[in-house]
């Protein structure tokens, strides 16, 4: 083999290696370093081809085709670049799509458009989805539609939870809870409860409107400490609330003449001692002008709040809920697991189970003068309210003679106030009572899958805007067919008999006729 032939072989191998390198980068398993080396070797081989046959270079340069090839190539590159720019501009600057569907299912609702256009700061959405998640494409399309309308005021990014565990921790996404969508504005974040246009728009409204809201936890009665990072403290849930733009502070009712003006809600988290009369009056006066109070009780404790609660139709029973059939595995008898929730703003789209360690049962009184209370969460029908605390202390309980059935562990009462009163703090009185105060604490908040969320939903309902946006999901108009065997056969006949066979017949006919000519 002479050197010229060798050079040609080397050159051919070089071209093949060089051309294949970008394709391998895209489809192969090799890393970019490997591919880079491959490209370099390809270039070296082509260099060897030229070195073995130096005359080739001269022939190519002086060839008449070279000038043409160079101009054509240059022009081609320019055109490719122009087309690339055109695509980029079309994709980034003209995002609007023509919605040709009958029900305009790819167009955002007017409320969403208004919300997005009214944004003054950038809302950024983090979608914690792995590329293989079923809804991936749907969520991407939804977010893109929001971005199309909101422009640089609404941006989004996808985060693969498997690849970025740090981000998952940063946003407090629970492990194995599936995909999650979080919207963030500055330091505030909100997890979108139901990933839909309605859920996303409401989350945006929530973090863009509210700004910082403030709630107060009462002190002085042995309540749970919001700064305590131990098992019985509330530090975790308070931090989570701060992420949603709700700041928490403490309040000793004996130190103040009235509830602070900036209070969106008062939380009484498990008092161990009685509230004194002036304190109760303060709370009562606050409620009457549209105050929002959450009371978290404990069994066997006289809180001094029963009169106040009774005014709003809620009674705390002197018992402790036992549910041997629905309790957390490996715990005492008195940790009922709850999965029944009423229809309410707090429990909308909420389907996680909650656990309530040592919980007293509540009763909604049917007092016509009081606003109608709603049992928010109830136990299984297998539960009963144990009143024999002496026996219970020994770890024994029996349902004999006790109140049995679905017992309420949480009750909410609300009453809309007449419009036009100047002293009102809000347009609605809101009172939520829980039979247990440990469920959102650092220990149980981590154990019960829905514990923290239930508490946070309650607080955001208290502190939140009353006007949630409701968007009916749009879908194509329903259409269905019922066909008999005859119709189905006809459709079949036309689609795979008549159509292809006609084409085949015409083809054969033309072929035969032309051949016979």
């Amino acid at each position: 083999m002479n050197s010229k032939t060798l050079g040609q072989v080397l050159g051919a191998v070089g071209v093949a290696i060089l051309v294949s390198s970008p394709i391998l980068l895209l489809f192969g398993a090799a890393g970019s370093g490997f591919v880079l080396w491959q490209a370099i070797i390809g270039l070296l081989l082509i260099g060897a081809f030229l070195a073995f046959d130096p005359g080739q270079v001269g022939r190519v340069i002086s060839g008449k085709g070279t000038f043409f090839a160079a101009t054509a190539g240059g022009l081609g590159l320019l055109l490719v670049a122009a087309v690339a720019v055109g695509n980029y501009v079309a994709a980034s600057s003209f995002p609007a799509q023509w919605d040709l569907t009958k029900n305009k299912i790819f167009t955002l609702a007017p409320d969403t458009q208004k919300t997005l256009k009214g944004l003054t700061q950038t809302v950024h959405a983090y979608a914690f989805y792995t590329p293989s998640d079923r809804d991936y494409a749907g969520v991407r399309d939804l977010l893109q539609r929001y971005h199309d309308v909101g422009g640089d005021k609404f941006t989004y990014q996808f985060v693969d939870p498997d690849k970025s565990p740090a981000k998952v921790r940063e946003f407090g996404i629970k492990k194995d809870s599936g995909p999650a969508l979080v919207v963030a504005l500055g330091k505030q974040q909100d997890k979108v409860q139901a990933v839909s246009e309605e859920g996303l728009t409401n989350a945006i409204v929530k973090i863009s409107h509210g700004g910082e809201k403030k709630i107060y936890f009462t002190t002085g009665h042995g309540e749970a400490d919001i700064k305590d990072t131990q098992a019985t403290g509330y530090s975790q849930v308070v931090k989570a609330l701060a992420n949603e733009g709700i700041q928490s502070d403490t309040l000793n009712l004996l130190d103040v003449k009235e509830i602070p003006k900036d209070a969106e809600a008062i939380v009484i988290a498990g008092p161990q001692k009685r509230f004194l009369d002036p304190e109760v009056k303060l709370l009562s006066d606050y409620l009457k002008v549209g105050g929002h109070v959450a009371v978290l009780l404990e069994p066997q404790v006289r809180s001094g709040l029963s009169g106040l609660m009774k005014q709003y139709g809620i009674q705390a029973n002197d018992d402790e809920i036992i549910d041997p059939l629905s309790r957390l595995a490996g715990t005492n008898l008195d940790v009922p697991v709850v999965g029944n929730y009423a229809q309410h703003a707090i429990t909308k789209d909420f389907n996680e189970t909650t656990v309530f360690p040592t919980c007293r049962s509540l009763t909604a009184l049917s007092d016509p003068s009081a606003p109608r209370p709603l049992a928010l969460a109830t136990t299984n029908p297998t539960a009963w309210g144990e009143t024999d605390f002496a026996q219970l202390a020994q770890g024994k309980a029996s349902p004999e003679g006790m109140v049995r059935g679905s017992l309420a562990v949480a009750i909410v009462a609300s009453k809309t106030l007449p419009a036009g009163r100047t002293d009102d703090r809000s347009s609605e009185i809101r009172l939520a009572v829980f039979g247990d105060s440990e469920f959102p604490d650092n220990r149980w908040g981590a154990i019960g899958p829905g514990n923290q969320d239930l508490f946070m939903n309650t607080v955001s309902w208290m502190a939140g805007d009353t006007d949630r946006i409701t968007i009916r999901p749009r879908s194509r108009a329903a259409s269905h067919l019922t066909m008999g065997q005859r119709e189905m056969t006809l459709v079949q006949f036309f689609s795979i008999d008549v159509l292809p066979v006609t084409l085949l017949a015409v083809g054969i006919a033309i072929w035969r006729v032309r051949r016979s000519k």
Binding site: A90, A478, H480, M483, E487, I496, L504
Partner: protein, 269 residues
């Protein structure tokens, strides 16, 4: 322009006076027909099931466009992937093989006119294919209009605007594929090589978004964008954006440009 039209006419007459186009269209309608019937049968079974279980809330989720027409149009894109190389392979390569290319080159026709004529013929072929495919929704619509099919509303269960959008998308897919095929065809004398290379190139463009699945961020967005099904999808579900149109037009500009250069190159070689 007259010259280009004359060439287009000649090309189309070759397609339609030989069995090529008929064979390809016959195969296409047969496979599409089977897909169509499978989807329609499933849809009908679901309708029946929900009706017999008296579950109106489930019936509300049934939609012919979503469950039959949309998957059909998307799948036909894959049929196009196999079909267009056979239609485009002979566009230029055949002229070289049968030694008529020299005649063309010595004629007063400009390479641009040759290219334009051939591409117009290719577009005509794709238009014919799309019209044939439009017969499937038409069959459903015809039967429902004649009262033998029951549908929820009083109007046809076929959402024509969405269907037309999907068919337009299919035409653009075909036009883009033909643009690639014509260019490849202009590079070789062998129709077999032309068909094979075209198929490989189109397949790579088609499955780019498979690779996108394992990436994140910009790389994923770019790969998704470069992949053809992304844009066909937008048309098929009735919500195309300008970028989808521009994407297909890019092929329709680049393919003919490089073809014209490749033909012109023969003068210089």
């Amino acid at each position: 322009m007259r010259n280009a039209l004359a060439i287009a006419k000649k090309e189309l007459s070759i397609y339609f006076t030989t069995p090529t186009a008929y064979a390809v269209f016959c195969g296409m309608t047969f496979i599409a027909g089977m897909m169509f019937l499978a989807a329609l049968g499933y849809f009908q079974r679901m309708s029946m099931q929900f009706l017999s279980f008296q579950q109106p809330q489930l019936l509300d989720h049934l939609n012919l466009t979503d469950m039959v027409v949309y998957p059909l149009l998307r799948n036909v894109g894959v049929i196009f992937l196999f079909m267009t190389p056979f239609l485009s392979m002979r566009l230029v390569a055949d002229e070289k093989r049968s030694r008529t290319f020299e005649l063309l080159m010595t004629s007063p026709l400009r390479p641009f006119e040759i290219m334009l004529g051939k591409y117009l013929a290719a577009l005509g072929l794709m238009a014919a294919a799309v019209i044939l495919l439009g017969l499937f929704p038409l069959i459903v619509s015809f039967f429902s209009a004649s009262g033998t099919l029951m549908n929820a509303g009083t109007t046809s269960p076929v959402e024509w605007p969405t269907v037309f959008s999907g068919l337009a998308g299919l035409f653009l897919v075909g036009a883009a594929m033909m643009a690639v095929g014509m260019f490849v065809s202009s590079l070789t004398e062998s129709v077999v090589v032309s068909a094979l290379v075209t198929f490989v190139v189109l397949l790579v463009v088609w499955i780019l978004n498979w690779q996108a699945g394992r990436m994140e961020g910009t790389a994923r967005a770019v790969l998704d964008y470069l992949s053809m099904p992304t844009h066909l999808d937008a048309f098929a579900r009735g919500a195309p954006a300008l970028k989808d149109l521009v994407y297909f037009l890019s092929f329709m500009i680049l393919g003919p440009f490089f073809t014209e250069r490749a033909i012109e190159a023969h003068r210089w070689a």
